[in-house]
Amino acid sequence: MARAVTTRRKVITTAAAWAIGLLIFFPIYWTILTSFKTEAQAINDPPLFFFFDWTLENYAVVQERSDYMRFLWNSVIIAGGSTVLGILIAIPAAWSMAFVPSRRTKDILLWMLSTKMLPAVGVLYPISLIFVEFNLLDTRGGLIAVLMLINLPIIVWMLYTYFKEIPVDILEAARMDGAGLREEILYVLTPMAIPGIASTILLNFILAWNEAFWTLNLTAAQAAPLTAFIASYSSPEGLFFAKLSAASTMAIAPILILGWFSQKQLVRGLTFGAVK
């Protein structure tokens, strides 16, 4: 029997959800708002919430000073490339762990995750030296490789969780019908796991887009993505909050739009298998 939900409870839950949502959204809202203020308005006390003379000056200055399209393009290539490469490697890996596990599968999964527990700066020098040795500094290829490796454990874990939800019997039936390994993964498993794969792609694209340690440390002028674009507007001696906000808004806009249009898939994928 379904549990009766009282109106009062509904109101409280809705209000709480809205409050949390607004709280989480507030920094983004404030950044966008500040980007339309003058530098003097940006630091005004009391803060100006809506009623001020809106200006596009900061966007004009940022456009004039920085080659936004180059940073954007680098972000798209690096985030997209690392995600695609990661998925290509992770699907077979997750398949084998989910459907033909060995005695060590659980250990391997945990070991993979342990690489995420190391602070990135701990391997800054070894990675930098490898990059110097192989001429990968300030190249998109180098960053794609590094970001793919960083996010691979998460991709494998997510896909493994989704694949575990798929009944083995279906795959066995495909095998009995004469499907080989390639057909089994491509035509049976992948279509069934599309929501999971889609949300994994989205989440990893967002993680790679926002990655701000390696992208700042391994790039200079050619391969720098939008994280470097934002960082270039932070100032130790001078108040440039409005310009910094305009740069931040321009940097998060593409990913925000992508997230907005794909939120259904994202939520569906993230809650996949959470409720049985």
Partner: protein, 434 residues
Amino acid sequence: MTLRNALCAATALTLVSAAAAQAQTITIATVNNGDMIRMQGYTDVFTEQTGIEVEWVTLEENVLRQRVTTDITTEGGQFDIMTIGMYETPIWGANDWLVPLDGLSAEYDVNDILPAMRNGLSHDGTLYAAPFYGESSMVMYRTDLMEQAGLDMPDAPTWQFIREAAAAMDDPDNDINGICLRGKAGWGEGGAFITVTANSFGARWFDEDWNAQFDQPAWKEALEFYVGLMNDYGPEGYATNGFNENLSLFQQGKCGMWIDATVAASFVTNPNDSTVADSVGFALAPNSEGVEKRSNWLWAWALAIPAGTQQEDAAKQFIEWATSKAYIELVAENEGWANVPPGARTSLYETPEYQAVPFAQKTLDSINAADPTNPTVDPVPYVGIQFVAIPEFAGIATEVSQEFSAVYAGQQSIDEALEKAQALTTDAMEAAGY
């Protein structure tokens, strides 16, 4: 036909090679400070004069330090010019990580660089970085509030006078704090400020044998004075205020006084950004009564060439251009004398137009009053005023300043913080082999 093709190919190759030779590009790592941004705007002038293209990589200050350090130590060769400060230059110069800036042209007039800046950017008498702009610290105060309080700011005030003036100008009902000072953790933020304050109370970081000195009474006296002053007349939450936060407060008319970098003078007197632009006065950074050393620091943002660059000559050409007298004149012509990069060249302060700028003379006096080789009352084995020019300092001072900021935030006592500072500094120095 074959001969014709071959000739065409050869001509094309020659043209491509010539274009490649002309389109030499240098990459410069820098920070997003106003003067640096202005310099980026004039890059075209340099390219027109020399044919050398310039790529800028602008980074946040701490990221820049991490980035250039990694690049130099791994010989990454990503940058042909780096923007570094007075702390890094002598250390990196000593390690042969930088190209010595010798053989500069006669026209450049290296002797025109202010002696304090030149000394601070040299190691063993060799210049390793050219100052783009330099700064000391000084008192900036509201002349209108000072007048209302019936006080006259001396040219060289004492901390005791500063406290008296802060008490007189403090007006919580009108949201005016008597004084605004840095308290934010970080060796270059609040750490720098409390170090120069301690200098002016007769304290020092190390004795001549590199023993930490936080257990000495002068440090306690300095901290007690600072915390008392800020608790009584400073803004709420000063423990997290750095340069930018205080600049914001001062520009909005919420501080009677602000003691900070001389470069701030051009910001607070700029009517476009500052609500108090027409009522700001300047004085030398204070000292404690009876102590000869003042609390002014010395810093420069300078351009250096990392060893290992493939484009040393082009890089040198750029540095000569960007730190030249001609560049200063170029900026003055287009944006006015108040906007030229300050604190680097003697000739700038001899220019009548610049002498008319209200903060010019006090900036020069403050820079001249700073002596990095003799920063404290008692002798010390190190160079540097608001820092100690050893590689370990940044890490140690960041931790020490975190302990002090915890005091400002009311999370621990001065005695506790000093005890911890003494212990952690001693441990770190022993581990480093001092």
